[in-house]
C-alpha cells in the first residue's frame, strides 16, 4: 500500500521547469530511492513533499495515507510523521546536542537521547553537551540530525544525499540507522546520485529534468543509471545550463 503518493506534480520557478508532471507511489515500510543526475529535481521533490515555503506553488497533489497534504504547513506535515534530513544540516549556535534531539523526540527523556546517539555511533557522554555548531564535522552533524530523526520516530523520512560530505565510518553508521528505521516500519526515501546509496534501496525511481524516466527494482535502475546517466553530458549540468537546479 502506498503511504505517499505524488500525483502529477509540476513546479516552475520563473521560467525554469523543475518538476514536470511527476507521479510516484511510495509503499509503506520500503526503502525507496529517487535517483538522477545533478539538476534532475531530486532535492526539489523532497522539499515539495516536506512543504517548504519556497516549494508550495506546485501544481498536482501530494497524498499521505490517501489524504491530500498540499495545504498543510511544514510542521503540520511533520506531525503526521513526515520529515526530511537535509543534504547539509543546519547549525544551531548555542543549542546542545541534547536540546536539539529532545526538541523532536517523542519520548522526552535523557535515556532516549543516549539511545539515539548510540544508534548513530556517537558516544553520548562525549556528545550530549556539545553545541550543534561549526565545531562538529560534517559527518557528526549528519549523524546528529539522523539521531534527532530517530528520536522523532517518523512514519516517512527523506534523506537527501545521506553520504554527502561524510567519511566511510559515518556512512556505515548512517546505513545502520536506515536499517533501524526500516525495522521500525518507517518508509524511507533516499535522495541520491550515488550507486552505493542506491544499493540500500528496495525500489527506485529514476528522474531526469523533473520527469520520471523509469522505476522498478533497484538493480535494474542502478544498471541503467550507471550505464547511461552517469556518462551522460546532461543538459542540466551547471556549465551547460545555468538555470538548471536540483
Amino acid at each position: 500500500m502506498a503511504i505517499l503518493e505524488v500525483r502529477d506534480v509540476s513546479l516552475q520557478v520563473n521560467s525554469t521547469v523543475i518538476l514536470n508532471g511527476l507521479s510516484m507511489e511510495f509503499w509503506e515500510g520500503y526503502v525507496h530511492a529517487v535517483v538522477g543526475p545533478n539538476g534532475a529535481g531530486k532535492s526539489t521533490l523532497a522539499n515539495v513533499i516536506m512543504g517548504l515555503p519556497d516549494y508550495r506553488q506546485h501544481t498536482g497533489d501530494i497524498l499521505f495515507e490517501g489524504k491530500s497534504i498540499k495545504n498543510l504547513n511544514v510542521d503540520e506535515r511533520a506531525r503526521l510523521g513526515i520529515t526530511l534530513a537535509w543534504q547539509e544540516p543546519a547549525r544551531f549556535e548555542g543549542l546542545t546536542v541534547s536540546q536539539f534531539i529532545l526538541a523532536s523526540a517523542k519520548d522526552k527523556n535523557k535515556n532516549e537521547i543516549d539511545r539515539v546517539l548510540e544508534l548513530v555511533g556517537l558516544e553520548p557522554t562525549r556528545y550530549r553537551s556539545r553545541a550543534v555548531d561549526k565545531t562538529l564535522s560534517g559527518g557528526e552533524r549528519k549523524r546528529i540530525e539522523l539521531a534527532s530523526i530517530l528520536a522523532m520516530k517518523p512514519r516517512l523520512v527523506m534523506l537527501d544525499e545521506p553520504d554527502s560530505g561524510v567519511d566511510i565510518e559515518a556512512i556505515e553508521r548512517i546505513f545502520e540507522a536506515i536499517d533501524h528505521l526500516k525495522k521500525d516500519g518507517c518508509t524511507i526515501l533516499l535522495i541520491t546520485h550515488s550507486p552505493k546509496v542506491l544499493e540500500k534501496a528496495d525500489h527506485a525511481f529514476l528522474i531526469c529534468s523533473g520527469m520520471l524516466v523509469d522505476k522498478g527494482e533497484t538493480a535494474k535502475i542502478l544498471e541503467y543509471f550507471s550505464g547511461k546517466c552517469l556518462p551522460c553530458p546532461h543538459k542540466n549540468l551547471p556549465d551547460l545550463n545555468p538555470g538548471g537546479r536540483e
Binding site: 504547513n73 510542521d75 506535515r77 511533520a78 506531525r79 543546519a90 543549542l95
Partner: protein, 308 residues
C-alpha cells in the same frame, strides 16, 4: 523584618533554599544593607546613601577567593530609585569572581543606576557575572556605567544577562583600558519584548603590548522592542588583538541596530568584527518545523540557543 526582606529577595532569584550564609555576600534592598559576609582577604565597606548604597570592595594582594562572592541588589518596593556606587579594587595577583543578582520582582517604575570603578592589579583575575530578574509587566530603567582599568597581565571578564521579565530600558556603558598582556572579555545577552529599549556601549582600549579584548553581544528583540549596540575596540599597541561580535535576532516589529567600531593605530595590532542582524535563520527554522515544532516553538528554541 530584615530577615523577611532577605528571604523575599533571595526567593525572587530562586536562592532562598540553597543560599549559604557563610558564602561571602552583600544583600541590599533599596538603600539598606541588609546583610554582608566577608572572608579573609576580602573587605566590603558599604555606606548607605539617601537613594542607594556606596560600597568599596577590595581583594588583598595575592588572595584567591575560592567561593564566588554574591552581590544581591534589589528593590522590593514597586517604585523608586536605587543608585549603586561601587569601587572595586583587586590587588596584584589576587583572584575573585562576583555573582551579582539584580532583582526587582514587583517593579512598576524603578530606576537602577550603577556607577562602578574597577581596578584589577597585575596578574590579578576578576570575573563579574550579573543576572537581572525583572517583573513581567513593570518598567525598570537600568543604567550601569563601569570604568575598568587592567594592569599588566590582568584578566577581566564580565557577563550581563537579562532573559526573564521585561527589560524596560537598559543603557549599558562599559569601558576598559588594557595594559600589557591583560585581557578583557565583555558579554551581554538580553531578550527584549514589548516596547523595551536596549542600548549597549562596550569599549576597550588596548594600550599595552599583546593585550586582548573580546566584546560579545547577543540580543533578541520582538514585538516593538528596539536595540542599539555600539561596541568599540581601539588597538594602540603592537601584538594587541581584539574581536567584536554582535548577533541580533529580530521578530515582529522589533528594530536592531549594530555599529561595531574597530580602530587600529599600530601596524602589528589586529582587530576583527562581525555583526549579524536578521530574522531567524530559515534553514534552522525549517529543520525544527520538519521535526514537528510549531513556528513559535522553533523560534523560541533558536533564540534560546543564541542567548545561551
Amino acid at each position: 523584618m530584615i530577615e523577611e526582606q532577605i528571604e523575599e529577595l533571595l526567593e525572587s532569584i530562586n536562592l532562598h533554599r540553597s543560599f549559604d550564609k557563610n558564602t561571602p555576600h552583600i544583600v541590599i534592598n533599596a538603600n539598606k544593607v541588609l546583610r554582608s559576609q566577608v572572608v579573609e582577604g576580602l573587605t566590603i565597606e558599604p555606606e548607605e546613601l539617601s537613594d542607594g548604597v556606596k560600597a568599596r570592595l577590595r581583594v588583598e594582594k595575592g588572595y584567591k577567593i575560592l567561593q564566588p562572592v554574591h552581590l544581591c541588589f534589589g528593590m522590593l518596593p514597586e517604585r523608586g530609585v536605587q543608585r549603586i556606587i561601587l569601587e572595586v579594587q583587586i590587588e596584584d595577583e589576587a583572584e575573585v569572581s562576583f555573582l551579582a543578582h539584580c532583582t526587582f520582582p514587583q517593579a512598576v517604575d524603578i530606576q537602577h543606576l550603577m556607577n562602578a570603578e574597577i581596578k584589577v592589579g597585575r596578574k590579578a583575575r576578576y570575573s563579574y557575572f550579573e543576572r537581572h530578574w525583572h517583573s513581567d509587566e513593570g518598567m525598570v530603567r537600568v543604567v550601569p556605567v563601569a570604568k575598568i582599568e587592567l594592569a599588566e597581565d590582568a584578566r577581566f571578564s564580565t557577563e550581563f544577562e537579562l532573559l526573564k521579565g521585561r527589560v524596560g530600558v537598559i543603557d549599558i556603558d562599559y569601558s576598559t583600558v588594557c595594559q600589557a598582556r591583560s585581557s578583557a572579555e565583555m558579554k551581554a545577552r538580553i531578550f527584549g519584548r514589548l516596547d523595551d529599549r536596549i542600548k549597549i556601549k562596550e569599549a576597550a582600549v588596548l594600550e599595552g603590548e599583546a593585550s586582548r579584548a573580546v566584546l560579545t553581544t547577543h540580543i533578541a528583540v520582538r514585538d516593538e522592542a528596539v536595540a542599539e549596540i555600539n561596541n568599540e575596540i581601539i588597538a594602540k599597541a603592537p601584538y594587541s588583538r581584539g574581536h567584536v561580535d554582535c548577533k541580533e535576532i529580530i521578530q515582529g516589529n522589533g528594530i536592531a541596530r549594530a555599529v561595531p567600531v574597530v580602530e587600529v593605530r599600530n601596524p602589528k595590532a589586529h582587530v576583527t568584527h562581525e555583526a549579524a542582524i536578521g530574522s531567524v535563520d530559515s534553514k534552522q527554522l525549517q529543520t525544527l518545523m520538519a521535526r514537528g515544532l510549531s513556528e513559535d516553538q522553533a523560534v523560541d528554541l533558536i533564540i534560546q540557543g543564541l542567548l545561551s
